[in-house]
Amino acid sequence: MKKLVSVLLCLMLTAAMVTGCGSSDAGSGTGGKSTKETKETGEEKTADPEEYQVVMVVKQSDSWFDDMATGVEQLKKDTGLNVSVQVPETGDAASQISIMEDLIAQGVDAICVVPNDPEALVPTIEKARESGIVVVTHEAPGIAGDVDLDVEAFVNEEFGKLFGEKLATAMGGKGQYAGFVGGLTMETHMAWYKAAVAYIEENYPDMECVSKEPYEDGNSIDGAHDKTLEILKAYPDIKGFFDCSAQGGGICETLQEKNKTDDIKVVSLALPSMSATYLEDGSMAAGLAWRPADAGYATCYAAYLLASGQKVETGTDLKITGYEEVEVKDGVAYGNAPLEFSADNINDYNF
């Protein structure tokens, strides 16, 4: 009996140690080395990518950020840059902050982050920059003044207009509609939402948004599902939905349950692996995205350029499709890489 207990306990402890330290292990091992090198070589550090350690902190673990990780892997293969991805356990600012604190302690060369709540990260970002770490964000133009650079796949207003345009076309330019964001604090989601609504107001006077503020799906498919159920009851005449977070599948799922896929159109931020079925069966009219792998690639490459003392200006090539000639304005580097999905082209993408 007692033996069994001790064996079990040992097993649990080992498991805990592996799970607990697994993620930071890889980082700290190489991290220690590279900081030492930096200290030894001091100012003479060359522009060789292999000498720089860049860490990307994503929002959470889902297929979107899985794809971003493949882009980062690709960058590592292409250039030899010492770059890795850290995935927070939960999709909130607190877990991102604790990961960043660890990275600051390790003394990495650059941190790339896709903030869950940009404003909340600012103090940590300042701390990182004070200790000489380059910080590059993605999807956070609002705090561009507090970071070294923010990389965007496109001008957010333009992308938001696309939501409005696609939805209006699908709905035939008239009827009630509602919009979702992941959360009201999510800056890019809000920018797209506002641009979409403004675009529709301007061009389609017969369309009406049912709420003043967007609904929150909490970045979860059941959140989108449950809220849609409620909206359908509260606004029985609704004819369209758009979702600025990639959870449009939850809306389509609800419409299928209620047999309303023909009457109600859905446009959503979409990921082929999660939304292909809905685009193919017609319950989702259009999907919009940018390639997360490319964005991750460009963001980390920009971080390397800055960390090695090079510049990112209008016209700089970030070495990946859509970002060959970025446009830099007020600390934000805009690419030109929106991606539109329909039933016809969805199978051309495998992320």
Binding site: I231, E257, M274
Partner: protein, 329 residues
């Protein structure tokens, strides 16, 4: 005498539900529809499942905050097996998830019995441990509608019966079964008596001939099995599988069970009470849009009702003790 008082408490909960429903119906007549009941049933079905499991644990004087991690572990692992091997069978999905859930329940029970630490600490630890093992050793990929087993999606969309195009979700079946089984175990078997007995006083239960270790093993395994089944229901309903969902939502279930009149210290609790607790939370949660309030009101409502119901339970306990000439304070 005792049952009458409990019923009065459930009566209060029912009254809250009715008053609130009338209020929503006045604000928005669209609420008065059989569809509303069906929708709330569907949305609440997964939570009901784990609430029943948690209720049994709490009656025995324990607590389990690892059940969401168990649910995720069970369903995620099973789906991975099914995708790898191409098995597309509903029975396999549920049995496998339930078995994995039960196994994790065994780990919980053994740790609690042998380490003699508060169950809250142990299950808080195993929650992270299970989730960590899953994301590290099994996989941390997400799966979308296209790759998930078709039979599961069919179950998620299926209806037991339909009234004018509006169907009652098939997910209500496992919940009903679990409810009946739990009622039978609690009130018609020796184990059930044992669960109430060790919840009231473990030492007395031991002297009366109950084996606390076995009873504890039973309740955590039972909670694990229900959690596994719930994980599968969740996947069937959402038709998507993420490695980071569910975990973190356990406290709202604890709140629901406590609102239902379950004593946190054990020995007292009713299935119908837990059901009412879950319904209250979901009723508040799914009507905010109808009455035009933002989602932050949800926390306010749930918090208020939680505090009131805990206060009422403790007050009733005090009155009962005084009547029996027991003075604890």
């Amino acid at each position: 005498m005792k049952t009458k008082k409990l019923d009065r408490f459930q009566g209060i909960l029912l009254l809250i539900i009715i008053i609130y429903s009338v209020f929503v119906a006045i604000k928005n007549p669209a609420f008065i529809h059989i569809e509303t009941i069906f929708d709330i049933t569907r949305v609440a079905s997964t939570t009901l499942m784990v609430a029943i499991g948690l209720l049994v644990v709490m009656i025995s004087g324990g607590i389990d905050v690892s059940f969401m991690a168990v649910a995720l572990f069970g369903s995620y692992t099973t789906i991975n097996i099914m995708i790898e091997t191409g098995i597309d069978n509903l029975a396999f999905a549920f049995v496998s998830a339930a078995l994995i859930g039960g196994l994790l329940g065994v780990i919980n029970a053994l740790l609690i019995s042998w380490l003699k630490l508060p169950p809250f600490i142990i299950t808080l630890g195993t929650q992270n441990l299970f989730h960590g093992i899953m994301t590290t050793f099994i996989s941390d990929k997400s799966f979308g509608a296209g790759v998930l087993p078709e039979s599961l999606h069919a179950f998620g969309q299926a209806s037991v019966f339909k009234i004018k195009d509006v169907g009652l979700t098939a997910s209500v079946l496992p919940v009903l079964l679990a409810g009946l089984a739990t009622w039978f175990i609690l009130y018609r078997t020796m184990i059930g008596r044992g669960i109430f007995a060790i919840g009231n006083d473990e030492e007395s239960a031991r002297r009366a001939g109950f084996n606390p270790f076995r009873i504890r093993l039973f309740v955590y395994v039972y909670s694990g099995i229900l959690a596994g089944i719930m994980g599968m229901m969740y996947v069937a309903q959402t038709n998507a599988l993420y490695p980071n969902k569910l975990v973190g939502d356990e406290l709202i279930v604890v709140a629901a069970v406590v609102i239902g009149g379950t004593k946190i210290t054990g020995g007292q609790g009713k299935i119908f009470g837990a059901v009412l607790g879950v319904i209250i939370i979901y009723l508040l949660n799914t009507t905010l849009i109808m009455i035009g309030l933002s989602s932050s009101w949800n926390n306010l409502f749930v918090g208020t009702i939680l505090v009131i119901s805990v206060a009422v339970t403790s007050y009733q306990e005090k009155v009962k003790n005084r009547n029996n000439l027991i003075f604890t304070e």
